[in-house]
């Protein structure tokens, strides 16, 4: 530019005006998109992890009819890709490693798993659902309130309706009602998806330590009663204290209080103190004064118990995730504590965990007699399903994969491989369950069967779509109690008030459709 053509201050202002007008135009366009989620680019990374020691490759001959059926009906969908956002659960990774290859071979449909942490899986699914971007065909869902939320927002389609409309794609021998966790994923009569995993979070103990004659004698001398698997929290606290020996790197308790995992511990524990559904009402209230139970005497007693048990855990337990918890188990550092039974194959690996392998036993769960009104044990029943994304472009292919991943034959192989996962009621009732318990010595299938028969499998979450809002508030407050900055009573009272206020500002009970 020559000297006289240099841009002066006024020129800058003009450019500024152009920029503002362009911005306003862009803003106007965005405003026109009211209600749509912001456009974000999601970086996908397919992780293929090996689930060590969790099974053997499926033999084609095992599948008989369903394989013939799939080969016959999958023709039009050959070459399609089914993308799945999945939490990196043992069952999901096992399906990917051992079942997917055969399905792909049979059908020509490609299955692409994206394994993520729970938070990330939910984040990607929500954004995909809100944007209707069609990145995934199947969303992993593991809790009732997520199913409710996804249905309410139109992110997923009803499996039952889809099956009714595509009878030609439904294998005649497929019985979805046999899947135990179907009830957790049914919302207003709609089914989110076929559950492919079902297991317990319950108290597990090291049988070698509990049956050791020296330990038994020492325990009796100290506490005046026999050393046995705990059935109440008082008993649990005693055995926790007894086995906590930092010098031997052995601890009497383990849990997962990390903010990422804490809500599970808190909500599951609350139920064993007689506070169901996380202390919230279906009318979206949590404080006692509004009909909830989150700041009730029961809830305060539970949180107090939870915090009082932390000194019996390994160092750093205040920030443990499941991964840390599982690692402590497999390293033989824990005598008793909570376990997701789907991970038995991991924590009992013969090569990596020789101290633990063959020495972990399931209890049917513990309760607090003072607050829990029934005399039966009670354990959390966890499950996960693959829900069909409303925006997924290959729903038919996804429907076929769902059936193969959850058919009886696959479930049988899954029970054998993972040692603590039982998706089907018929399989639990079969001699196979007892056979596997005898082989693995975990007692997991007997416990799941007993709790299912007695009606004591607990699904602690109510189908409240807005529950994650409450969860976010709750863990922030509970964290203060764990850090010793406030008492359980103070934090639960503050959390209940804040949650009630939040739900009020969200318009409840004026929301429609509940």
């Amino acid at each position: 530019l020559s000297e006289e053509k240099k841009v002066d201050r006024r020129g800058y202002l003009k450019v500024g005006a152009v920029v503002v007008v362009a911005g306003a135009a862009a803003g106007g366009y965005m405003i026109g998109q009211t209600g749509k989620a912001p456009q974000t680019t999601t970086v996908t990374e397919t992780v293929t992890e090996t689930v060590a020691g969790t099974g053997t490759a499926t033999q084609p001959s095992q599948y008989g009819d369903i394989e013939e059926f799939l080969s016959k009906v999958s023709g039009p969908y050959k070459g399609q890709t089914v993308r799945i956002a999945n939490e990196s659960t043992a069952s999901g990774m096992w399906l990917n490693e051992f079942i997917r290859p055969r399905f792909e071979e049979l059908t020509g449909i490609k299955i692409e798993y994206e394994f993520l942490g729970w938070d990330d899986a939910m984040r990607k699914e929500r954004l995909d659902g809100a944007q209707k971007s069609g990145t995934y065909e199947l969303y992993y869902i593991d809790e009732e309130e997520i199913a409710a939320e996804f249905f309410e927002n139109g992110y997923i389609v009803d499996w039952n309706a889809f099956a009714a409309q595509h009878k030609d794609l439904l294998w005649p021998g497929y019985n979805v009602a046999d899947l135990i966790a179907v009830k957790y994923f049914t919302y207003k009569g709609m089914l989110a998806g076929a559950p492919f995993e079902h297991f317990l979070r319950t108290i597990v103990y090291r049988s070698d330590l509990f049956n050791d004659p020296n330990e038994k004698a020492d325990f009796k001398a100290k506490y005046g009663r026999e050393l046995q698997p705990p059935t109440t929290y008082d008993e649990y606290a005693q055995t926790a204290e007894f086995f906590t020996r930092p010098d031997e790197d052995l601890y009497g308790h383990v849990c997962q209080p990390n903010p990422m995992s804490l809500p599970c511990d808190i909500l599951i524990g609350l139920a064993t103190y007689g506070v169901s559904g996380g202390g919230y009402t279906l009318g979206r209230r949590s404080s006692v004064k509004n009909g909830g139970m989150l700041d009730s005497e029961n809830a305060i007693a539970w949180l107090t118990r939870y915090i009082n048990l932390l000194p019996y855990g390994p160092k750093g337990v205040e920030n443990f995730t499941w991964d840390d918890e599982g690692a402590a188990w497999s390293a033989g550092r824990v005598a008793q504590g909570w376990v997701w039974t789907e991970n038995f194959a991991y924590i009992e690996d013969q090569e990596k965990s020789p101290k633990v392998a063959g020495n972990v036993m399931c209890t049917p769960g513990i309760t607090e007699p003072k607050y829990y009104r029934y005399s039966t044990p009670y354990a959390y029943s966890d499950a996960g399903c693959m829900a069909m994304a409303a925006s997924g472009p290959s729903k038919e292919a996804a429907f076929l994969w769902q059936q193969y991943a959850t058919c009886q034959q696959t479930n049988e192989a899954q029970m054998k491989a993972l040692k603590g996962v039982a998706p089907r009621a018929s399989m639990l009732a079969s001699p196979l369950a007892d056979q596997l318990d005898a082989q693995y010595k975990t007692n997991a299938y007997a416990m799941i069967r007993r709790l299912a028969t007695e009606g004591n499998l607990m699904g602690p979450f109510f189908p409240i779509a807005e529950e994650p809002v409450a969860r976010d508030i709750l863990w922030k407050h509970v964290e203060d109690a764990i850090a010793g900055k406030a008492t359980p009573k103070e934090v639960l009272s503050a959390a209940a008030t804040e949650i009630d206020d939040k739900w009020k500002t969200m318009g409840w009970p004026d929301l429609k459709g509940y």
């Binding site: 530019l1 053509k5 841009v7 020129g11 003009k14 450019v15 152009v18 920029v19 503002v20 362009a22 911005g23 306003a24 862009a26 803003g27 366009y29 965005m30 405003i31 009211t34 209600g35 989620a37 912001p38 938070d119 984040r123 929500r126 809100a130 939320e149 309410e152 927002n153 990390n258 903010p259 990422m260 390994p314 160092k315 750093g316 337990v317 205040e318 920030n319 779509a465 807005e466 994650p468 809002v469 969860r471 976010d472 508030i473 922030k476 964290e479 203060d480 764990i482 850090a483 010793g484 900055k485 500002t505 969200m506 318009g507 929301l511 459709g513």
Partner: protein
């Protein structure tokens, strides 16, 4: 028309910038006036300034802001002082100086998320080597997961480990720019080391020092990855700085409307701080 040709030529670039920078800003501004909780089936509702009104009294926001200011101020002071010392060391010629410089700048090449994970492994009680040796040799228990003050201090240590080399390199460029004749004159006049630092070095590298403060100030307020990996904001919210708080608000609680309001205020706080620092830098450079 020829008069306007330069402006026409600028249109593509300005248009692109407007789309990339301004469109998200205006959209966020628009969202900040709405009630939109993405997990709720409730429709998006215009609520005026309610989100901003709530924000002014939101203890979580205010606490996170104060924590962030404390973190930024302490980190910057430490990095400035230690960076100056490191820069002086780098000025000297000694055996292994080249290797020292290479090792020193290594943290700058590591992704923040990897740094957070590394520090978690190093500092985690019962697992990490640092708490182990501190306890076994000094009898001092460093508890990242259970002690708020120690967790806060660990985030500052980690940030300093990561960014000290950058501060040192910037300050080194200032020191290297000082004319040797000035230093020789000072030596002939018999000034002490302290006087040299106080009356020669500090005044002459004040521009670089302010630049470090400006750069690190912006970064420290935005820090997220390392903290998220190291502590997740805990224990008891001790390391829940504004960015961590914002993340949980938007991507865990899905409160998009209120999160947008916090983002706008957060942006303006950073702009105002940077503007003040920029003015200071300009005044010094003049």
């Amino acid at each position: 028309m020829a008069k306007f040709r330069p402006w026409y030529l600028l249109i593509p670039a300005v248009g692109l910038l407007a789309f990339i920078d301004l469109a998200p800003f205006f959209y966020t501004l628009y969202l900040s006036f709405q009630r939109w909780i993405m997990i709720s089936p409730n429709p998006v509702t215009y609520i005026g300034f309610d989100n901003y009104q709530f924000l002014v009294n939101d203890a979580e926001f205010l606490n996170a802001f104060v924590r962030g200011v404390n973190f930024a101020v302490i980190s910057i002071i430490i990095q400035l002082v230690a960076g100056l010392g490191t820069a002086f060391i780098m000025c000297r010629k000694f055996r292994g100086a080249a290797l020292f410089k290479v090792i020193l700048v290594l943290p700058l090449a590591i992704a923040p998320v990897a740094i957070g994970s590394m520090w978690r492994l190093m500092m985690f009680p019962g697992v990490g080597p640092i708490p182990y040796y501190l306890e076994h040799y000094l009898g001092f228990e460093w508890n990242l997961t259970g002690n708020s003050e120690m967790a806060f201090a660990t985030t500052i240590l980690m940030d300093t480990w990561h960014w000290l080399p950058l501060a040192a390199l910037i300050l080194l460029s200032g020191i290297a720019g000082i004319s040797p004749s000035i230093l020789e004159s000072a030596m002939l006049d018999g000034v002490s080391s302290w006087q040299k630092l106080r009356f020669i070095y500090l005044p002459l590298i004040r521009f670089e020092m302010l630049f470090v403060v400006l750069l690190r100030g912006m970064d420290a307020f935005r820090i997220f990855d390392e903290i998220w990996m190291l502590t997740g904001g805990g224990p008891g919210g001790a390391t829940r700085y504004l960015s961590v708080s914002l993340y949980t608000l938007i991507l865990k609680a899905w409160d998009i409307g209120y999160g947008a309001a916090v983002s706008i205020v957060y942006l303006y706080v950073i702009i105002v701080l940077c503007w003040a620092l920029y003015q200071a830098v300009m005044r010094v450079s003049d």
